[in-house]
């Protein structure tokens, strides 16, 4: 809200942290895209295995999302520990770049 207080360029660690937050924000869009893909698969091409294949794909995507979310959450938490005592900065980071 106060542009004067926001630096234009950041140190490497803060920069990485913000890209991490970007990743956290992008993840649901990425997931939504992957989950919508089965809609466009031609149904009935191989009747026998369709449901099992779709199921395996969906569970695979689901698991991938969980792993990515865990990695990001862990890194964000570690960074937050490093920046302990600097909560004001941490809070402002949410919309700064």
């Amino acid at each position: 809200m106060k542009p004067a207080r926001r630096p234009l360029f950041l140190a490497r660690s803060s920069y990485r942290r913000r890209r991490l937050i970007d990743a956290a924000r992008l993840l649901p869009a990425f997931g939504a895209f992957l989950l919508i893909v089965p809609v466009f698969w031609t149904p009935g091409a191989h009747t026998i295995q369709d449901t099992a294949r779709d199921g395996l794909y969906l569970f695979g995507v689901w698991f991938l999302l969980i792993v990515l979310a865990a990695l990001i959450a862990r890194r964000i938490a570690v960074n937050a520990e490093v920046e302990t005592g600097n909560t004001a900065t941490r809070d402002q980071n949410r919309d700064g770049d």
Binding site: M1, V39, P43, A69, R94
Partner: protein, 909 residues
């Protein structure tokens, strides 16, 4: 398996939960929260998203609609994986504002509006009722399964009786542990931990059944894949509309369901837990879904056709003669149902008591003594009754629908109802322009459309709506048919209801917000919610009130309980540097107290109660705004006054200066009059003396000539004096006729230097000039201008007291205005005299006097004024220095100046 064993198992299980909850409450009371506030407990408590609907219904759903059941879990997965967007903000707002429920969030955001609290509460109750009915139904069904399987042939006493027993038991449990604390923000550790235990039980149960089915019945994962291909499930085809729509719906529901909001936001003790939950909760959901399809496939294969697929989780192990596993599954289903009902009942009861009962009570008592009686007891009683009421409603719905519909369908109806809060909530936390009117309009419209298109038709044709109404629309208006609004007949009923309710809801919300203007409290709250990460200070809604700290303490004790209230007041007093229990009622303190109270009874109620206890002494924000307006006006007025008084003092200063000068002038004039008398008398004396001598006839001729000469010279001196006086008065009156001529500046200065040569011829004066700069043609009264120059050069010649007098003449033609400086190297003029030298009759000293009457500079000034220019003394040049400035071309003559040139006089001095 005997029914008694079943009941015994249930009882033992419930007693076990009691013990867990009880032990945890004890620990929490002793202040040992430790692992109770771990991310693990938080994540597991979120699992109340997986109700009996998941436990039993997902398999049934998969058996009917293939993989579509996954959408119900993929939506929440996306929301949690994207926690940085919405969940983080919701949790932060919940903590900062001490939000007690989703209704409290909405009400608080839109200006602590009581009406919004009521609307959201009613909607939540309506939307949750089918869901609670669903849980009762599933538990009853699962009892029924065991009853029909039993070899002893006992019959289930009565399905409705079972449901009543279940509902009653749940109500007792919820009342016991859900309403022990009043402050929702103190968190229900016991309940939350019990729910976490239940989460583990249902996960283990479902995984156990799944593992048994996959490896015990289907022959491993490959066998399952083969069986999927063979079963009717593989005929399932993805329906894009439902796929995307249901994913969205479940994502919205996980945010908006009252019970999810309760565990997600209200019971959250640490924001960092959210980071863990962002992946751990999706993992939990994945594990819950992993074996759904295998169980459904195997169930469809081995169970007789016509068996209820909703119960495969129970019936498949039973059919395989695995009684223990079936018991575990039963307990899993039981725990799914109970945990959901407990949390939903707590959440709904909090909303009902905070937003409906307490405000109503406050309004009813308004005329009487403020806050008499124990509010705490009132609120707790209201909550307990609300819990019973909510369960009773669920039971009624169950009876009304006859428990016939598939579990999944009921759950989705509930989801769609809860999702109506979404626009108001998202708009509330991301859009400052969202207003109360918009929110009310959106919520009401969305809720009405949901009722009309989904909830009421769910009772079936001729249930609540007549079959004709469903088929032809009200009064035969076909485009208002409940399941084909505006002619959209081809849509899936659920999608249809979802689309229209949310579209109209959002539309009304946005239009309403854009067209209306929010009140002051609303705008404050909007800023606090949307800018929650940036804010520091509170809303500042309270003025320095006259409310007595003691009164506030009495009220707080009634709501928070004696000890917590006293501890709070003592801490506040200590923070203010005071001893004892009574802090000053500063606005900050009252504001914190309000938030603390709102944690118990909701924002709107806490606000109303504080306003009531303090009577009119508490300043409302509206009043504050009015005060601020008045203050602004007063400040503006005083600023004007200040400006005026400054102007006055400026004028007074100018007057004082003028007065000083007048006094000085008067003194000077007196001095001059005596001087002029002397001046006039000296020549007159010699003229009289010599003329008397001349009257003596015996005077020799040459003497006569000599004396006549003296008389003549003295007469000339007198005439010159009088001429000067005359000229000055002419100039001052502005009646002088200017003779406009063109001449070179150098020529004029040459003339002045030459003419002044006759003055004090004995004194030598070196003149330094700047010839190139003097090459300017001026168009003015050159004779008058020369007169000024002559005067200045003569003055230098006469008065410069340096050993080797030097005069520098510097001309600066700049633009339309020319300045010429005359600077000598004498001692200059003392500062106190600088203001006077241009006055008439001023002569600084009588030494060096060369016949002047002290009128020269005064005449110069009048001439320059007539020429549209100025002459001023230039201090700091190392000698006497005069600056003559005049326009290159004489301006057109203005109308004759009649008043004496007072203004110019002041300016020039």
């Amino acid at each position: 398996m005997p029914f008694n064993v079943l009941v015994l198992a249930c009882l033992l299980y419930v007693i076990f939960l009691f013990l867990v909850a009880f032990a945890v409450e004890r620990r929490a009371d002793e202040g040992q929260v430790g692992w109770l506030r771990s991310p693990l407990i938080y994540t597991l408590s979120l699992s109340i998203y997986c109700t009996a609907w998941t436990f039993y219904g997902a398999v049934g759903y998969a058996a009917r609609s293939g993989l579509e059941f996954m959408t119900i879990y993929l939506g929440p997965t996306l929301v949690f994986v994207g926690w940085w967007w919405v969940l983080r903000k919701l949790v932060r707002i919940g903590r900062v504002q001490r939000v007690t429920s989703i209704a409290d969030l909405i009400s608080s955001r839109y200006g602590k509006s009581p009406i919004l609290g009521v609307i959201v509460t009613l909607m939540a109750v309506a939307a949750s009722t089918p869901y609670i009915a669903l849980q009762l139904q599933s538990v009853t069904l699962s009892f029924g399964v065991f009853a029909s399987q039993t070899p002893e042939g006992w019959a289930l006493p009565n399905r409705d009786a079972t449901a009543i027993w279940v509902a009653g038991g749940l109500a007792v449990f919820t009342v016991l542990f859900g309403t022990r604390n009043l402050d929702a923000n103190e968190r229900h550790h016991g309940v939350v931990t019990a729910i976490a235990v239940e989460a583990v039980v249902k996960l283990v149960a479902l995984l156990a059944v799944g593992v048994f089915v996959v490896w015990g019945l289907a022959g491993g994962p490959m066998g399952v894949i083969d069986k999927i291909g063979d079963s009717q499930i593989s005929e399932w085809q993805i329906r894009p509309g439902r796929w995307a729509g249901l994913t969205f719906l479940s994502a919205a529901a996980v945010l908006c369901l009252p019970r999810m909001f309760q565990v997600l936001v209200v019971e959250n003790s640490d924001e960092r837990h959210l980071a863990t939950a962002s992946w751990a909760f999706p993992l939990y959901l994945l594990l819950m879904s992993l074996f759904v399809v295998p169980i459904a496939v195997v169930g469809l294969e081995i169970m007789p056709s016509g068996a209820n697929p909703d119960l495969f989780v129970l019936t498949v192990p039973l059919a395989a003669e695995k009684g223990g596993l079936a018991m575990l599954a039963f307990l899993g289903g039981f725990s799914s149902a109970t945990s959901m009902v407990i949390v939903a009942a707590i959440a709904l009861a909090t909303m009902v008591s905070n937003h409906i009962v307490t405000p109503l009570w406050l309004t009813l008592r308004h005329g009487g003594k403020p806050v008499s009686g124990d509010v705490r007891r009132l609120v707790l009683t209201a909550r307990r009754l609300s819990i019973a009421g909510v369960l009773a409603l669920g039971y009624s719905y169950y009876r009304l629908t006859g428990g016939g519909a598939a579990l999944a369908a009921i759950g989705l109806i509930s989801f769609a109802g809860a999702a109506q809060v979404l626009p108001a909530m998202m708009g509330g936390i991301f859009w400052r322009g969202a207003t109360r009117t918009g929110a009310v309009a959106g919520l009401c419209l969305g809720f009405a459309v949901w009722l009309y298109t989904l909830f009421l038709p769910s009772f079936g044709p001729d249930g609540v709506m007549s079959a004709t109404l469903l088929a032809d629309g009200p009064g035969g208006i076909s485009w208002l048919r409940p399941q084909a609004l505006f002619g959209t007949a081809g849509m899936d009923p659920l999608l249809h209801a979802l689309l229209w309710s949310l579209a109209l809801n959002t539309g009304a919300f946005c239009i309403g917000s854009i067209l209306t203007f929010p009140g002051p409290v609303e705008r404050l709250q909007a800023a606090q919610f949307v800018e929650v990460y940036d804010q520091g200070a509170g809303s500042g809604g309270w003025g320095q009130s006259a409310a007595e700290a003691e009164d506030l303490l009495i009220m707080a004790q009634r709501i928070l309980g004696d000890e917590p209230a006293q501890a709070f007041f003592q801490a506040e007093a200590t923070a203010q540097g005071k001893a004892g229990y009574l802090p000053d009622t500063t606005p900050e303190f009252v504001d914190r107290l309000e938030r603390r109270l709102s944690g118990s009874v909701g924002a709107a109620t806490a606000h109303a109660m504080l306003a009531q206890i303090a009577g009119g002494a508490v300043v409302s924000v509206e009043e504050l705004m009015a005060v601020a307006n008045e203050t602004a006006q007063i400040m503006e007025y005083s600023a004007q006054l200040e400006a005026k008084s400054e102007e006055l003092s400026r004028t007074a200063r100018a007057l004082r200066e003028a007065n000083d000068k007048l006094t000085q002038l008067s003194v000077q004039k007196d001095a001059f009059l005596s001087q002029i008398s002397h001046e006039l008398r000296t020549p007159m004396t010699s003229i009289r003396a010599f003329s008397e001598i001349l009257m003596d006839d015996e005077l020799p001729g040459e003497m006569q000539v000599k004396y006549a000469g003296i008389i003549h010279a003295e007469a000339i001196r007198l005439t010159r004096l009088l001429d000067d006086l005359l000229e000055l008065s002419v100039l001052e009156a502005g009646r002088v006729t200017l003779n406009r001529q063109s001449a070179n500046l150098q020529t004029l200065i040459d003339r002045a230097v030459a003419a002044s040569g006759s003055v004090a011829p004995g004194r030598s004066l070196t003149i330094q000039r700047d010839l190139p700069n003097e090459q300017v043609t001026v168009e003015t009264d050159t004779d008058r201008l020369s007169q000024v120059f002559i005067n200045l050069v003569s003055n230098a010649r006469k008065y410069c007291d340096a050993e080797r007098p030097t005069l520098r003449i510097v001309a600066r033609p700049g633009g339309g205005r020319i300045t010429v400086d005359f600077i000598d190297n004498g001692t200059g003029i003392a500062k106190k005299d600088q203001a006077l030298i241009f006055e008439k009759f001023s002569r600084l000293s009588d030494q060096n006097r060369a016949g002047g009457a002290g009128l020269g500079l005064a005449i110069c000034r009048e001439i320059m004024a007539n020429l549209g220019g100025t002459i001023s003394y230039l201090p700091g040049q190392g000698g006497a220095a005069f600056r003559v400035a005049f326009p290159r071309r004489l301006p057109r003559r203005e109308p004759a100046r009649n008043e004496p040139a007072d203004a110019e006089r002041t300016a020039a001095s």
